[in-house]
C-alpha cells in the first residue's frame, strides 16, 4: 500500500509531472499523474501559481501550465531532501 504523501511531496509530484512534459501540460494530465481529486488539484495549482512555482497559459486547446525558475529550484531542493532521506533511511 502506498504511503500517504505529505504536502511538500504532493507539490513535488505535481512539479515533476509538469517538468516531465517539458514544461507544458494540461490540467487533466496533472490530475491523472498526481493522483489527486479535481478539487485538491485545483487548490494546489492555485497555490503554486500564487507562490510563483508555475505559470498558467491560455492556448486554443485550453489551459496549460509550465514551470518557472523558482519551480525548477524547488524540484532540485526537494530531490536533494529525498535522496538525503533515502541514503540515511530517514523516510
Amino acid at each position: 500500500m502506498q504511503k500517504k504523501r505529505d504536502r511538500l511531496h504532493v507539490i513535488y509530484d505535481i512539479l515533476r509531472t509538469i517538468q516531465e512534459k517539458n514544461g507544458n501540460i494540461r490540467p487533466t494530465h496533472i490530475l491523472y499523474k498526481s493522483n489527486l481529486s479535481h478539487k485538491m488539484m485545483a487548490e494546489y495549482l492555485a497555490e503554486l501559481i500564487q507562490k510563483g512555482f508555475i505559470v498558467e497559459s491560455e492556448t486554443k486547446n485550453g489551459k496549460t501550465y509550465s514551470l518557472t525558475d523558482k519551480g525548477y529550484d524547488y524540484l532540485a531542493k526537494f530531490r536533494l531532501i529525498i535522496e538525503f532521506q533515502k541514503s540515511f533511511g530517514l523516510d
Binding site: 511538500l8 514544461g23 525548477y72 529550484d73 532540485a76 538525503f84 533515502k86 530517514l90
Partner: protein, 231 residues
C-alpha cells in the same frame, strides 16, 4: 579509575589532526542536514542534524583539550602542580567528551527507532549515562555502550541498504560499520597503544565515506538542476 588511553608518541599529532577532521565532517553534516530540515520541517532530519552537531562538539572539545595538554607537556620543564593540572584537565575533558558523544549517539539511535516519544529518548539517555558514570572503568563502559549503540544504528542502515541497494545507502552502512568497529577497538586502547591508532584509522575511513556521501548528494542535485534547466 582509568582515565587514559595509551597513545603512541609519534601518533599524538596525527590523532589531533584526525579528531579535527572528524569534527569538521560532523559539523558540515550537521549544518547541511539542519539546512535541509529548515526547507522541509521533517522531524527525522532535525533529529539527525542534532545528533551530528553533538558529535561535532564532542570532537571539538577532544581536539582543544588534546592541544592544551600538548602545549603544557611541550614546555621545557614542568612541576608536579602542572602535572596535576594536566591530569585534572584530562579528566574534565574526558567527561565533557563522553557526555557530548553519548548525547549524539543516543539521539542518532532514537532517530533510527522512528518514533516521537521523548520518554523513550530520556530513558535511553539515562541508561547510557548511568552505565558509564556508575562503572569503575568508565572508558571501558563508554566504549562498550558506544559499540552497542552503533550496532543498533548499523542495523537501521543495513535494513535501509537491503531495501534501497543504492551506492549512497551502502556508503552510509559501511561507514557506521567502521564506527562500530572503531568503538570496539578503542576498548583495547586501554592496554595497547596500537588499538588507539587502528581506532582512529577506522573512524577516519568512516567519516571519509560519510563525507563522500554528502558530496555525491550535492553533486547529483546540481546535475539534476542543470539537466532540468536544459530541457
Amino acid at each position: 579509575m582509568t582515565h587514559v588511553f595509551l597513545v603512541p608518541n609519534w601518533f599524538f599529532y596525527y590523532g589531533i589532526a584526525c579528531e579535527l577532521i572528524f569534527a569538521l565532517v560532523t559539523l558540515i553534516g550537521g549544518i547541511f542536514s539542519f539546512k535541509l530540515y529548515k526547507l522541509c520541517n521533517y522531524y527525522s532530519i532535525k533529529v539527525f542534524s542534532i545528533s551530528f552537531l553533538f558529535f561535532s562538539l564532542s570532537y571539538i572539545v577532544q581536539t582543544l583539550i588534546n592541544l592544551e595538554i600538548l602545549s603544557n607537556i611541550s614546555e621545557a620543564s614542568f612541576s608536579l602542580t602542572q602535572w596535576n593540572n594536566i591530569t585534572s584537565l584530562s579528566i574534565i575533558s574526558f567527561y565533557i567528551y563522553i557526555s557530548l558523544f553519548i548525547l549524539g549517539l543516543v539521539t542518532l539511535t532514537y532517530m533510527t527507532l522512528k518514533e516521537r516519544n521523548i520518554k523513550h529518548y530520556a530513558l535511553l539517555l539515562v541508561l547510557a549515562f548511568a552505565g558509564v558514570l556508575l562503572s569503575l572503568n568508565k572508558i571501558f563502559a563508554f566504549r562498550l555502550i558506544s559499540a552497542i549503540l552503533f550496532f543498533f544504528i548499523l542495523l537501521h542502515f543495513f535494513k535501509n541498504y537491503a531495501v534501497r541497494k543504492s551506492v549512497n545507502s551502502l556508503l552510509v552502512m559501511v561507514a557506521f560499520f567502521l564506527l562500530m568497529m572503531a568503538s570496539s577497538v578503542y576498548i583495547f586502547a586501554l592496554q595497547y597503544s596500537t588499538a588507539y591508532v587502528i581506532g582512529h584509522i577506522l573512524e577516519f575511513s568512516a567519516y571519509l565515506l560519510i563525507a563522500i556521501n554528502f558530496i555525491m548528494l550535492v553533486k547529483n542535485a546540481k546535475k539534476a538542476r542543470q539537466t532540468s534547466c536544459n530541457i
